[in-house]
Amino acid sequence: MKVEEILKRSFLLPFLFAVLIVFFPFIFSNYYVGLVIQIFIMAIFAMSLDILVGHTGLPSMGHAAYYGVAGYAAGFLFLAGVKNFWLAIVLGMGLGGLAAAFFGLLALRARGPYFMLITLALSQVLWGIAFKWRSLTRGDDGLPGIGRPEIGLGMNLKPDLYFYYFTFALFLIAFAALFILLNSPFGYTLRGIRESESRMEALGYPVWLYKYTGFIFAGIFAGISGVLWVYYSGFVNPSYFGIDLSVKALLMLILGGSGSLFGPFIGAGIVVLLENLVSGLTERWSLVLGIVYVTVIMLFSEGIFSVFKRGRN
Protein backbone atom coordinates (compact mmCIF):
# COMPACT_ATOMS: atom_id res chain seq x y z
CA MET A 1 0.00 0.00 0.00
CA LYS A 2 1.25 3.46 -0.86
CA VAL A 3 2.05 5.97 1.85
CA GLU A 4 -0.62 8.44 0.70
CA GLU A 5 -3.24 5.75 0.81
CA ILE A 6 -2.37 4.83 4.37
CA LEU A 7 -2.44 8.48 5.37
CA LYS A 8 -5.78 9.02 3.68
CA ARG A 9 -7.24 6.01 5.38
CA SER A 10 -5.93 6.77 8.82
CA PHE A 11 -7.24 10.34 8.63
CA LEU A 12 -10.54 9.49 7.05
CA LEU A 13 -11.78 7.19 9.79
CA PRO A 14 -11.22 9.51 12.75
CA PHE A 15 -12.67 12.37 10.72
CA LEU A 16 -15.86 10.47 9.92
CA PHE A 17 -15.99 9.37 13.54
CA ALA A 18 -15.75 12.98 14.77
CA VAL A 19 -18.46 14.11 12.37
CA LEU A 20 -20.71 11.32 13.55
CA ILE A 21 -20.15 12.27 17.19
CA VAL A 22 -20.86 15.95 16.57
CA PHE A 23 -24.10 15.35 14.70
CA PHE A 24 -25.21 12.35 16.72
CA PRO A 25 -27.50 14.31 19.13
CA PHE A 26 -29.37 15.82 16.19
CA ILE A 27 -30.23 12.40 14.84
CA PHE A 28 -30.82 10.31 17.94
CA SER A 29 -32.95 10.82 21.03
CA ASN A 30 -31.77 11.83 24.49
CA TYR A 31 -31.61 8.22 25.60
CA TYR A 32 -28.91 7.46 23.05
CA VAL A 33 -27.09 10.69 23.84
CA GLY A 34 -26.92 9.45 27.44
CA LEU A 35 -25.54 6.13 26.26
CA VAL A 36 -22.77 7.80 24.30
CA ILE A 37 -21.87 9.91 27.35
CA GLN A 38 -21.52 6.65 29.28
CA ILE A 39 -19.35 5.22 26.52
CA PHE A 40 -17.00 8.22 26.59
CA ILE A 41 -16.59 8.02 30.36
CA MET A 42 -16.11 4.26 30.39
CA ALA A 43 -13.68 4.57 27.48
CA ILE A 44 -11.50 6.95 29.54
CA PHE A 45 -11.65 4.44 32.38
CA ALA A 46 -10.74 1.50 30.15
CA MET A 47 -7.93 3.46 28.46
CA SER A 48 -6.47 4.32 31.85
CA LEU A 49 -6.52 0.65 32.83
CA ASP A 50 -4.89 -0.25 29.54
CA ILE A 51 -1.77 1.71 30.52
CA LEU A 52 -1.26 -1.14 32.97
CA VAL A 53 -2.82 -4.15 31.27
CA GLY A 54 -1.99 -3.59 27.62
CA HIS A 55 1.15 -1.50 27.74
CA THR A 56 2.98 -2.57 30.89
CA GLY A 57 1.63 -6.09 31.21
CA LEU A 58 0.29 -5.53 34.73
CA PRO A 59 -3.15 -7.17 35.06
CA SER A 60 -4.68 -4.88 37.66
CA MET A 61 -7.94 -6.14 39.10
CA GLY A 62 -8.70 -3.21 41.33
CA HIS A 63 -8.86 -0.30 38.98
CA ALA A 64 -12.20 0.86 40.37
CA ALA A 65 -10.28 2.05 43.45
CA TYR A 66 -9.04 5.22 41.76
CA TYR A 67 -12.32 5.84 39.97
CA GLY A 68 -14.16 5.55 43.28
CA VAL A 69 -11.77 7.76 45.22
CA ALA A 70 -12.18 10.50 42.60
CA GLY A 71 -15.94 9.96 42.46
CA TYR A 72 -16.38 10.34 46.21
CA ALA A 73 -14.08 13.38 46.20
CA ALA A 74 -16.20 15.11 43.55
CA GLY A 75 -19.39 14.09 45.36
CA PHE A 76 -18.27 15.43 48.74
CA LEU A 77 -17.03 18.61 47.13
CA PHE A 78 -20.33 19.25 45.37
CA LEU A 79 -22.39 18.51 48.47
CA ALA A 80 -20.16 20.89 50.43
CA GLY A 81 -21.27 23.58 47.99
CA VAL A 82 -18.19 23.68 45.78
CA LYS A 83 -19.52 23.34 42.26
CA ASN A 84 -16.44 24.30 40.31
CA PHE A 85 -15.61 21.51 37.88
CA TRP A 86 -11.95 22.36 37.47
CA LEU A 87 -11.31 22.15 41.17
CA ALA A 88 -13.12 18.81 41.33
CA ILE A 89 -11.24 17.30 38.40
CA VAL A 90 -7.87 18.39 39.78
CA LEU A 91 -8.78 17.00 43.18
CA GLY A 92 -10.17 13.77 41.67
CA MET A 93 -7.10 13.20 39.51
CA GLY A 94 -4.82 14.09 42.40
CA LEU A 95 -6.53 11.69 44.81
CA GLY A 96 -6.75 8.97 42.16
CA GLY A 97 -3.02 9.36 41.63
CA LEU A 98 -2.35 9.44 45.36
CA ALA A 99 -4.35 6.26 45.98
CA ALA A 100 -2.46 4.61 43.13
CA ALA A 101 0.83 5.84 44.58
CA PHE A 102 -0.02 4.15 47.86
CA PHE A 103 -1.46 0.93 46.42
CA GLY A 104 1.34 0.72 43.87
CA LEU A 105 3.91 0.57 46.65
CA LEU A 106 2.17 -2.52 48.01
CA ALA A 107 1.08 -4.22 44.79
CA LEU A 108 4.13 -3.77 42.58
CA ARG A 109 6.24 -6.01 44.73
CA ALA A 110 4.22 -8.94 43.47
CA ARG A 111 3.84 -10.39 39.99
CA GLY A 112 1.23 -12.06 37.82
CA PRO A 113 -1.59 -13.70 39.74
CA TYR A 114 -0.27 -12.36 43.05
CA PHE A 115 -0.38 -8.85 41.67
CA MET A 116 -3.99 -9.43 40.63
CA LEU A 117 -4.89 -10.78 44.04
CA ILE A 118 -3.40 -7.80 45.86
CA THR A 119 -4.89 -5.13 43.61
CA LEU A 120 -8.29 -6.81 43.96
CA ALA A 121 -8.02 -6.95 47.74
CA LEU A 122 -6.90 -3.33 48.07
CA SER A 123 -9.79 -2.03 45.97
CA GLN A 124 -12.25 -4.22 47.85
CA VAL A 125 -11.08 -2.72 51.11
CA LEU A 126 -12.01 0.75 49.83
CA TRP A 127 -15.38 -0.68 48.86
CA GLY A 128 -15.73 -1.98 52.41
CA ILE A 129 -14.82 1.36 53.94
CA ALA A 130 -17.32 3.21 51.74
CA PHE A 131 -19.92 0.60 52.67
CA LYS A 132 -19.31 0.60 56.41
CA TRP A 133 -18.36 4.18 57.24
CA ARG A 134 -21.98 5.26 57.31
CA SER A 135 -21.53 8.57 59.11
CA LEU A 136 -19.33 9.81 56.28
CA THR A 137 -20.55 7.96 53.19
CA ARG A 138 -24.08 6.96 54.22
CA GLY A 139 -23.08 3.42 53.37
CA ASP A 140 -24.93 1.54 50.72
CA ASP A 141 -27.45 4.35 50.19
CA GLY A 142 -24.67 6.52 48.90
CA LEU A 143 -24.73 10.25 48.41
CA PRO A 144 -27.52 11.44 46.13
CA GLY A 145 -28.34 14.94 44.96
CA ILE A 146 -25.14 15.75 43.12
CA GLY A 147 -25.89 18.11 40.26
CA ARG A 148 -23.92 19.21 37.24
CA PRO A 149 -20.83 21.30 37.94
CA GLU A 150 -20.03 24.82 36.82
CA ILE A 151 -17.24 25.22 34.33
CA GLY A 152 -17.36 28.93 33.70
CA LEU A 153 -16.91 29.77 29.99
CA GLY A 154 -20.58 30.79 29.92
CA MET A 155 -21.62 27.16 29.42
CA ASN A 156 -24.32 25.40 31.37
CA LEU A 157 -23.90 21.63 31.71
CA LYS A 158 -27.36 20.88 33.05
CA PRO A 159 -28.90 19.72 29.77
CA ASP A 160 -27.51 16.34 28.71
CA LEU A 161 -26.75 17.77 25.29
CA TYR A 162 -24.17 20.20 26.65
CA PHE A 163 -22.79 17.60 29.01
CA TYR A 164 -22.42 15.33 26.00
CA TYR A 165 -20.17 17.77 24.13
CA PHE A 166 -18.26 18.56 27.28
CA THR A 167 -17.62 14.87 27.96
CA PHE A 168 -16.59 14.40 24.34
CA ALA A 169 -14.09 17.27 24.66
CA LEU A 170 -12.63 15.75 27.82
CA PHE A 171 -12.50 12.36 26.16
CA LEU A 172 -10.52 13.86 23.28
CA ILE A 173 -8.13 15.59 25.68
CA ALA A 174 -7.61 12.40 27.66
CA PHE A 175 -7.18 10.45 24.42
CA ALA A 176 -4.59 12.94 23.12
CA ALA A 177 -2.75 13.04 26.44
CA LEU A 178 -2.59 9.25 26.56
CA PHE A 179 -1.53 9.12 22.93
CA ILE A 180 1.39 11.44 23.65
CA LEU A 181 2.27 9.61 26.86
CA LEU A 182 2.18 6.16 25.30
CA ASN A 183 4.10 7.18 22.19
CA SER A 184 6.82 8.88 24.19
CA PRO A 185 10.03 7.12 25.24
CA PHE A 186 8.17 6.48 28.48
CA GLY A 187 5.47 4.50 26.66
CA TYR A 188 8.04 2.52 24.68
CA THR A 189 9.82 1.67 27.90
CA LEU A 190 6.58 0.41 29.42
CA ARG A 191 6.05 -1.89 26.44
CA GLY A 192 9.66 -2.99 26.72
CA ILE A 193 8.96 -3.98 30.31
CA ARG A 194 5.84 -5.84 29.17
CA GLU A 195 7.89 -7.85 26.69
CA SER A 196 10.84 -8.58 28.94
CA GLU A 197 11.36 -7.14 32.34
CA SER A 198 14.73 -8.74 32.84
CA ARG A 199 16.07 -7.40 29.56
CA MET A 200 15.00 -3.87 30.40
CA GLU A 201 16.60 -4.29 33.78
CA ALA A 202 19.82 -5.42 32.13
CA LEU A 203 19.71 -2.42 29.82
CA GLY A 204 19.84 -0.23 32.89
CA TYR A 205 16.24 0.97 33.04
CA PRO A 206 14.87 1.54 36.54
CA VAL A 207 12.06 -0.93 35.84
CA TRP A 208 10.30 -0.56 39.17
CA LEU A 209 10.19 3.23 38.84
CA TYR A 210 8.69 3.00 35.35
CA LYS A 211 6.06 0.55 36.50
CA TYR A 212 5.31 2.70 39.52
CA THR A 213 4.98 5.85 37.40
CA GLY A 214 2.70 4.01 34.96
CA PHE A 215 0.62 2.82 37.91
CA ILE A 216 0.20 6.40 39.14
CA PHE A 217 -0.70 7.67 35.66
CA ALA A 218 -3.34 4.97 35.41
CA GLY A 219 -4.80 6.17 38.72
CA ILE A 220 -4.81 9.80 37.60
CA PHE A 221 -6.64 9.07 34.35
CA ALA A 222 -9.10 6.76 36.10
CA GLY A 223 -9.81 9.75 38.36
CA ILE A 224 -11.10 11.74 35.38
CA SER A 225 -13.66 9.08 34.58
CA GLY A 226 -14.80 8.80 38.21
CA VAL A 227 -15.43 12.54 38.48
CA LEU A 228 -17.31 12.64 35.18
CA TRP A 229 -19.52 9.70 36.12
CA VAL A 230 -20.55 11.32 39.40
CA TYR A 231 -21.67 14.47 37.59
CA TYR A 232 -23.39 12.41 34.91
CA SER A 233 -25.31 10.10 37.23
CA GLY A 234 -25.86 12.52 40.11
CA PHE A 235 -24.96 10.15 42.93
CA VAL A 236 -22.08 8.17 44.32
CA ASN A 237 -22.26 4.91 46.28
CA PRO A 238 -19.93 2.02 47.14
CA SER A 239 -20.50 0.41 43.74
CA TYR A 240 -17.99 2.95 42.42
CA PHE A 241 -15.37 0.78 44.10
CA GLY A 242 -17.06 -2.43 43.04
CA ILE A 243 -15.35 -5.50 41.70
CA ASP A 244 -18.01 -5.39 38.95
CA LEU A 245 -16.53 -2.20 37.58
CA SER A 246 -12.93 -3.39 37.68
CA VAL A 247 -13.85 -6.61 35.93
CA LYS A 248 -16.07 -4.80 33.45
CA ALA A 249 -13.11 -2.66 32.40
CA LEU A 250 -11.08 -5.82 31.83
CA LEU A 251 -13.90 -7.18 29.70
CA MET A 252 -13.79 -3.98 27.64
CA LEU A 253 -10.09 -4.47 27.05
CA ILE A 254 -10.50 -8.11 26.09
CA LEU A 255 -13.38 -7.30 23.75
CA GLY A 256 -11.86 -4.25 22.13
CA GLY A 257 -8.32 -5.55 22.22
CA SER A 258 -5.77 -4.01 24.55
CA GLY A 259 -2.51 -2.30 23.72
CA SER A 260 -4.06 0.30 21.42
CA LEU A 261 -6.08 3.38 22.28
CA PHE A 262 -9.04 2.62 20.04
CA GLY A 263 -9.48 -0.87 21.45
CA PRO A 264 -10.65 0.28 24.88
CA PHE A 265 -13.06 2.72 23.26
CA ILE A 266 -14.60 -0.01 21.12
CA GLY A 267 -14.74 -2.34 24.10
CA ALA A 268 -16.42 0.35 26.21
CA GLY A 269 -18.94 0.91 23.44
CA ILE A 270 -19.84 -2.76 23.18
CA VAL A 271 -20.14 -3.28 26.93
CA VAL A 272 -22.20 -0.12 27.62
CA LEU A 273 -24.60 -0.82 24.75
CA LEU A 274 -24.93 -4.46 25.73
CA GLU A 275 -25.60 -3.63 29.37
CA ASN A 276 -28.27 -1.11 28.54
CA LEU A 277 -29.84 -3.34 25.94
CA VAL A 278 -30.03 -6.33 28.27
CA SER A 279 -31.21 -4.38 31.31
CA GLY A 280 -33.98 -2.86 29.18
CA LEU A 281 -35.14 -6.27 28.02
CA THR A 282 -35.34 -8.33 31.16
CA GLU A 283 -35.43 -8.12 34.90
CA ARG A 284 -32.91 -10.96 34.99
CA TRP A 285 -30.28 -8.83 33.28
CA SER A 286 -27.61 -9.77 35.79
CA LEU A 287 -28.07 -13.43 34.87
CA VAL A 288 -27.97 -12.63 31.17
CA LEU A 289 -24.83 -10.53 31.61
CA GLY A 290 -23.18 -13.38 33.44
CA ILE A 291 -23.98 -15.67 30.53
CA VAL A 292 -22.62 -13.00 28.18
CA TYR A 293 -19.35 -12.87 30.11
CA VAL A 294 -18.94 -16.61 29.92
CA THR A 295 -19.92 -16.79 26.26
CA VAL A 296 -17.67 -13.92 25.25
CA ILE A 297 -14.67 -15.49 26.94
CA MET A 298 -15.39 -18.92 25.51
CA LEU A 299 -15.81 -17.56 21.98
CA PHE A 300 -13.74 -14.40 21.63
CA SER A 301 -11.16 -14.51 24.36
CA GLU A 302 -8.58 -13.00 22.05
CA GLY A 303 -10.81 -10.01 21.35
CA ILE A 304 -13.44 -9.56 18.67
CA PHE A 305 -10.99 -7.49 16.67
CA SER A 306 -8.02 -9.73 17.22
CA VAL A 307 -8.36 -10.80 13.60
CA PHE A 308 -7.45 -7.29 12.47
CA LYS A 309 -4.57 -7.12 14.89
CA ARG A 310 -3.08 -10.29 13.58
CA GLY A 311 -3.43 -8.97 10.04
CA ARG A 312 -1.63 -5.77 10.94
CA ASN A 313 1.37 -7.44 12.50
Binding site: V53, M116, K132, I254, G290, V296
Partner: protein, 286 residues
Protein backbone atom coordinates in the same frame (compact mmCIF):
# COMPACT_ATOMS: atom_id res chain seq x y z
CA UNK B 1 -14.17 -10.05 81.42
CA UNK B 2 -17.28 -11.75 80.12
CA UNK B 3 -17.17 -9.37 77.15
CA UNK B 4 -13.69 -10.55 76.22
CA UNK B 5 -14.46 -14.24 76.58
CA UNK B 6 -17.64 -14.01 74.53
CA UNK B 7 -16.05 -11.87 71.85
CA UNK B 8 -13.05 -14.18 71.65
CA UNK B 9 -15.26 -17.23 71.22
CA UNK B 10 -17.38 -15.40 68.67
CA UNK B 11 -14.23 -14.42 66.85
CA UNK B 12 -12.88 -17.97 66.93
CA UNK B 13 -16.08 -19.46 65.53
CA UNK B 14 -16.08 -16.86 62.77
CA UNK B 15 -12.40 -17.65 62.16
CA UNK B 16 -13.10 -21.33 61.69
CA UNK B 17 -15.94 -20.69 59.24
CA UNK B 18 -13.61 -18.33 57.40
CA UNK B 19 -10.86 -20.92 57.40
CA UNK B 20 -13.04 -23.31 55.43
CA UNK B 21 -13.75 -20.70 52.78
CA UNK B 22 -10.16 -19.43 52.62
CA UNK B 23 -8.65 -22.93 52.61
CA UNK B 24 -10.63 -23.76 49.48
CA UNK B 25 -9.55 -20.55 47.82
CA UNK B 26 -5.90 -21.03 48.71
CA UNK B 27 -5.86 -24.68 47.54
CA UNK B 28 -7.24 -23.71 44.13
CA UNK B 29 -4.95 -20.72 43.79
CA UNK B 30 -1.89 -22.55 45.04
CA UNK B 31 -2.20 -25.34 42.50
CA UNK B 32 -3.77 -23.71 39.46
CA UNK B 33 -3.10 -19.98 40.02
CA UNK B 34 -6.79 -19.39 39.39
CA UNK B 35 -8.23 -16.38 41.19
CA UNK B 36 -11.66 -17.81 41.66
CA UNK B 37 -13.87 -14.75 42.02
CA UNK B 38 -16.80 -17.15 42.26
CA UNK B 39 -15.45 -18.76 45.42
CA UNK B 40 -17.91 -16.88 47.62
CA UNK B 41 -20.67 -18.08 45.31
CA UNK B 42 -20.11 -21.63 46.58
CA UNK B 43 -20.84 -20.33 50.08
CA UNK B 44 -23.99 -18.62 48.83
CA UNK B 45 -25.26 -21.58 46.82
CA UNK B 46 -24.53 -24.12 49.51
CA UNK B 47 -26.24 -22.12 52.25
CA UNK B 48 -29.38 -21.58 50.16
CA UNK B 49 -29.63 -25.22 49.09
CA UNK B 50 -29.04 -26.26 52.68
CA UNK B 51 -31.79 -23.91 53.80
CA UNK B 52 -34.29 -25.48 51.43
CA UNK B 53 -33.42 -29.02 52.55
CA UNK B 54 -33.56 -27.95 56.20
CA UNK B 55 -36.99 -26.43 55.77
CA UNK B 56 -38.22 -29.67 54.22
CA UNK B 57 -36.55 -32.16 56.59
CA UNK B 58 -35.02 -30.30 59.56
CA UNK B 59 -32.03 -32.61 59.19
CA UNK B 60 -28.78 -30.64 59.27
CA UNK B 61 -26.59 -33.57 58.26
CA UNK B 62 -28.75 -34.38 55.26
CA UNK B 63 -28.80 -30.71 54.26
CA UNK B 64 -25.03 -30.57 54.46
CA UNK B 65 -24.65 -33.67 52.30
CA UNK B 66 -27.08 -32.41 49.64
CA UNK B 67 -25.56 -28.94 49.46
CA UNK B 68 -22.03 -30.37 49.43
CA UNK B 69 -22.79 -32.65 46.52
CA UNK B 70 -24.37 -29.74 44.69
CA UNK B 71 -21.40 -27.37 45.06
CA UNK B 72 -18.91 -30.11 44.23
CA UNK B 73 -20.77 -30.74 40.98
CA UNK B 74 -20.91 -27.04 40.16
CA UNK B 75 -17.20 -26.68 40.94
CA UNK B 76 -16.23 -29.66 38.83
CA UNK B 77 -18.33 -28.37 35.94
CA UNK B 78 -16.70 -24.94 36.19
CA UNK B 79 -13.23 -26.38 36.05
CA UNK B 80 -13.65 -29.15 33.52
CA UNK B 81 -16.00 -27.41 31.07
CA UNK B 82 -14.76 -23.82 31.23
CA UNK B 83 -11.61 -22.95 33.18
CA UNK B 84 -9.66 -25.89 31.83
CA UNK B 85 -9.36 -24.19 28.45
CA UNK B 86 -7.74 -21.12 29.97
CA UNK B 87 -4.96 -22.57 32.02
CA UNK B 88 -2.57 -19.81 33.15
CA UNK B 89 -4.57 -17.15 31.28
CA UNK B 90 -5.40 -15.08 34.30
CA UNK B 91 -7.55 -12.42 32.68
CA UNK B 92 -9.78 -14.95 30.98
CA UNK B 93 -10.12 -16.91 34.21
CA UNK B 94 -11.10 -13.81 36.14
CA UNK B 95 -13.74 -12.80 33.62
CA UNK B 96 -15.13 -16.34 33.42
CA UNK B 97 -15.40 -16.72 37.17
CA UNK B 98 -16.92 -13.27 37.44
CA UNK B 99 -19.53 -14.37 34.92
CA UNK B 100 -20.32 -17.28 37.27
CA UNK B 101 -20.65 -14.84 40.18
CA UNK B 102 -23.35 -12.94 38.29
CA UNK B 103 -25.12 -16.11 37.16
CA UNK B 104 -25.16 -17.82 40.55
CA UNK B 105 -26.07 -14.64 42.46
CA UNK B 106 -28.96 -13.84 40.16
CA UNK B 107 -30.27 -17.40 40.10
CA UNK B 108 -30.21 -17.42 43.91
CA UNK B 109 -31.98 -14.06 44.02
CA UNK B 110 -34.56 -15.45 41.64
CA UNK B 111 -35.17 -18.62 43.62
CA UNK B 112 -34.72 -17.50 47.23
CA UNK B 113 -35.47 -13.78 47.07
CA UNK B 114 -33.49 -10.89 48.47
CA UNK B 115 -34.27 -11.06 52.20
CA UNK B 116 -31.46 -12.03 54.56
CA UNK B 117 -32.07 -15.47 56.01
CA UNK B 118 -30.45 -17.60 58.67
CA UNK B 119 -30.26 -21.37 58.59
CA UNK B 120 -31.87 -23.07 61.58
CA UNK B 121 -29.27 -24.60 63.88
CA UNK B 122 -29.05 -28.38 64.21
CA UNK B 123 -31.60 -29.37 66.85
CA UNK B 124 -28.99 -30.78 69.26
CA UNK B 125 -27.07 -27.52 69.30
CA UNK B 126 -29.80 -25.01 69.95
CA UNK B 127 -28.97 -24.59 73.63
CA UNK B 128 -26.22 -22.78 75.50
CA UNK B 129 -23.29 -23.84 77.58
CA UNK B 130 -21.98 -22.30 80.78
CA UNK B 131 -18.27 -21.55 80.64
CA UNK B 132 -17.38 -20.38 84.13
CA UNK B 133 -19.98 -17.69 84.63
CA UNK B 134 -20.46 -16.92 80.94
CA UNK B 135 -23.31 -18.31 78.85
CA UNK B 136 -22.28 -19.25 75.35
CA UNK B 137 -24.32 -20.76 72.51
CA UNK B 138 -23.23 -24.34 71.99
CA UNK B 139 -23.55 -24.00 68.22
CA UNK B 140 -20.64 -21.57 68.13
CA UNK B 141 -18.47 -24.06 70.00
CA UNK B 142 -19.53 -26.73 67.54
CA UNK B 143 -18.35 -24.50 64.68
CA UNK B 144 -14.94 -24.11 66.31
CA UNK B 145 -14.74 -27.88 66.70
CA UNK B 146 -15.73 -28.51 63.07
CA UNK B 147 -13.11 -26.02 61.88
CA UNK B 148 -10.35 -27.65 63.90
CA UNK B 149 -11.35 -31.16 62.82
CA UNK B 150 -11.40 -30.17 59.15
CA UNK B 151 -8.10 -28.33 59.50
CA UNK B 152 -6.50 -31.47 60.95
CA UNK B 153 -8.15 -33.56 58.25
CA UNK B 154 -6.79 -31.31 55.52
CA UNK B 155 -3.35 -31.41 57.07
CA UNK B 156 -3.38 -35.21 57.13
CA UNK B 157 -4.71 -35.26 53.58
CA UNK B 158 -1.98 -32.96 52.34
CA UNK B 159 0.94 -34.42 54.25
CA UNK B 160 0.11 -38.12 54.55
CA UNK B 161 -1.84 -39.19 51.49
CA UNK B 162 -0.69 -39.84 47.97
CA UNK B 163 -3.16 -37.39 46.46
CA UNK B 164 -1.94 -34.77 48.93
CA UNK B 165 1.63 -35.41 47.87
CA UNK B 166 0.62 -35.00 44.22
CA UNK B 167 -1.05 -31.69 45.04
CA UNK B 168 2.00 -30.45 46.92
CA UNK B 169 4.22 -31.48 44.03
CA UNK B 170 1.90 -29.63 41.66
CA UNK B 171 2.13 -26.45 43.75
CA UNK B 172 5.91 -26.60 43.67
CA UNK B 173 6.53 -27.63 40.09
CA UNK B 174 3.53 -28.37 37.98
CA UNK B 175 5.56 -29.10 34.83
CA UNK B 176 7.63 -31.81 36.50
CA UNK B 177 4.44 -33.35 37.78
CA UNK B 178 3.04 -33.57 34.26
CA UNK B 179 6.33 -35.07 33.17
CA UNK B 180 6.07 -37.84 35.72
CA UNK B 181 2.93 -39.16 34.08
CA UNK B 182 0.30 -37.84 36.47
CA UNK B 183 -3.01 -36.91 34.86
CA UNK B 184 -2.90 -33.31 35.96
CA UNK B 185 -6.35 -32.49 34.62
CA UNK B 186 -7.85 -35.00 37.04
CA UNK B 187 -5.86 -33.48 39.87
CA UNK B 188 -7.09 -30.02 38.91
CA UNK B 189 -10.70 -31.13 38.82
CA UNK B 190 -10.28 -32.91 42.16
CA UNK B 191 -8.76 -29.89 43.85
CA UNK B 192 -11.35 -27.54 42.38
CA UNK B 193 -14.10 -29.80 43.67
CA UNK B 194 -12.45 -29.95 47.08
CA UNK B 195 -12.12 -26.16 47.18
CA UNK B 196 -15.79 -25.78 46.29
CA UNK B 197 -16.73 -28.33 48.94
CA UNK B 198 -14.80 -26.44 51.64
CA UNK B 199 -16.49 -23.15 50.77
CA UNK B 200 -19.80 -25.00 50.67
CA UNK B 201 -19.32 -26.42 54.17
CA UNK B 202 -18.36 -22.90 55.21
CA UNK B 203 -21.75 -21.76 53.92
CA UNK B 204 -23.56 -24.52 55.81
CA UNK B 205 -21.92 -23.94 59.18
CA UNK B 206 -21.83 -20.17 58.67
CA UNK B 207 -25.49 -20.10 57.63
CA UNK B 208 -26.93 -20.17 61.17
CA UNK B 209 -24.83 -17.27 62.51
CA UNK B 210 -23.55 -15.27 59.53
CA UNK B 211 -26.66 -15.91 57.51
CA UNK B 212 -27.15 -15.96 53.78
CA UNK B 213 -28.18 -12.97 51.68
CA UNK B 214 -27.36 -11.34 48.35
CA UNK B 215 -23.86 -9.92 48.58
CA UNK B 216 -22.54 -12.42 51.11
CA UNK B 217 -20.69 -14.06 48.21
CA UNK B 218 -18.57 -10.98 47.57
CA UNK B 219 -18.04 -10.30 51.29
CA UNK B 220 -16.77 -13.85 51.76
CA UNK B 221 -14.46 -13.42 48.79
CA UNK B 222 -13.05 -10.22 50.28
CA UNK B 223 -12.46 -11.85 53.66
CA UNK B 224 -10.85 -14.88 52.01
CA UNK B 225 -8.57 -12.58 50.04
CA UNK B 226 -7.45 -10.78 53.17
CA UNK B 227 -6.88 -14.14 54.89
CA UNK B 228 -4.71 -15.56 52.14
CA UNK B 229 -2.77 -12.34 51.65
CA UNK B 230 -1.95 -12.22 55.35
CA UNK B 231 -1.28 -15.94 55.70
CA UNK B 232 0.43 -16.49 52.38
CA UNK B 233 -1.24 -17.77 49.23
CA UNK B 234 -1.25 -21.50 48.63
CA UNK B 235 -0.50 -22.43 52.22
CA UNK B 236 -3.04 -24.21 54.41
CA UNK B 237 -1.09 -23.23 57.51
CA UNK B 238 -1.25 -19.65 56.28
CA UNK B 239 -4.99 -19.91 55.73
CA UNK B 240 -5.43 -21.19 59.29
CA UNK B 241 -3.31 -18.51 60.95
CA UNK B 242 -4.71 -15.81 58.66
CA UNK B 243 -8.28 -16.89 59.49
CA UNK B 244 -7.61 -16.79 63.22
CA UNK B 245 -6.20 -13.33 62.83
CA UNK B 246 -8.91 -11.98 60.54
CA UNK B 247 -11.76 -13.59 62.49
CA UNK B 248 -10.60 -12.18 65.79
CA UNK B 249 -9.67 -8.73 64.46
CA UNK B 250 -12.90 -8.49 62.49
CA UNK B 251 -14.97 -9.47 65.50
CA UNK B 252 -13.27 -7.13 67.95
CA UNK B 253 -13.18 -4.42 65.31
CA UNK B 254 -16.93 -4.73 64.82
CA UNK B 255 -17.55 -4.68 68.57
CA UNK B 256 -15.19 -1.82 69.38
CA UNK B 257 -15.16 0.41 66.27
CA UNK B 258 -18.16 -0.66 64.21
CA UNK B 259 -17.73 1.89 61.45
CA UNK B 260 -14.07 1.25 60.86
CA UNK B 261 -14.11 -2.52 61.19
CA UNK B 262 -12.79 -3.06 57.67
CA UNK B 263 -10.05 -0.57 58.28
CA UNK B 264 -8.86 -2.60 61.25
CA UNK B 265 -8.45 -5.46 58.76
CA UNK B 266 -6.88 -3.35 56.09
CA UNK B 267 -4.12 -1.82 58.18
CA UNK B 268 -2.59 -5.18 59.21
CA UNK B 269 -2.91 -6.44 55.64
CA UNK B 270 -1.08 -3.39 54.31
CA UNK B 271 1.64 -3.78 56.91
CA UNK B 272 2.14 -7.45 56.07
CA UNK B 273 2.20 -6.66 52.35
CA UNK B 274 4.83 -4.00 52.96
CA UNK B 275 7.05 -6.21 55.10
CA UNK B 276 6.46 -9.59 53.52
CA UNK B 277 4.59 -9.44 50.23
CA UNK B 278 4.10 -13.20 50.06
CA UNK B 279 2.34 -13.37 53.43
CA UNK B 280 3.45 -15.00 56.66
CA UNK B 281 3.72 -18.56 55.32
CA UNK B 282 3.96 -17.84 51.61
CA UNK B 283 7.00 -18.92 49.67
CA UNK B 284 9.39 -16.17 48.65
CA UNK B 285 9.58 -16.12 44.87
CA UNK B 286 12.75 -15.39 43.04
Amino acid sequence: MAFWIIQTLNGLSFSMMLFLVAAGFTLIFGLMKIINIAHGSFYLLSAYIGLTVLRATDNFLLATIVSSVAVILVGIAMQSLFLRRFYMKELQQVLLTFGFVLIIADLCLWIWGGNPMALPKPSLLRGSIWIGNVVFPSYRLFVILVGVVIAVGLWIFQEKTKFGAIVRAGVDDEEMLRGSGINIQMVFVGVFGLGALLAGIGGMIGGPFVGVFPGVDVSMLLLALVVVIIGGVGSLKGAFVGSLFVGLVDNFGKALFPELSLFTLFAPMAIILAIRPTGIFGKIEE
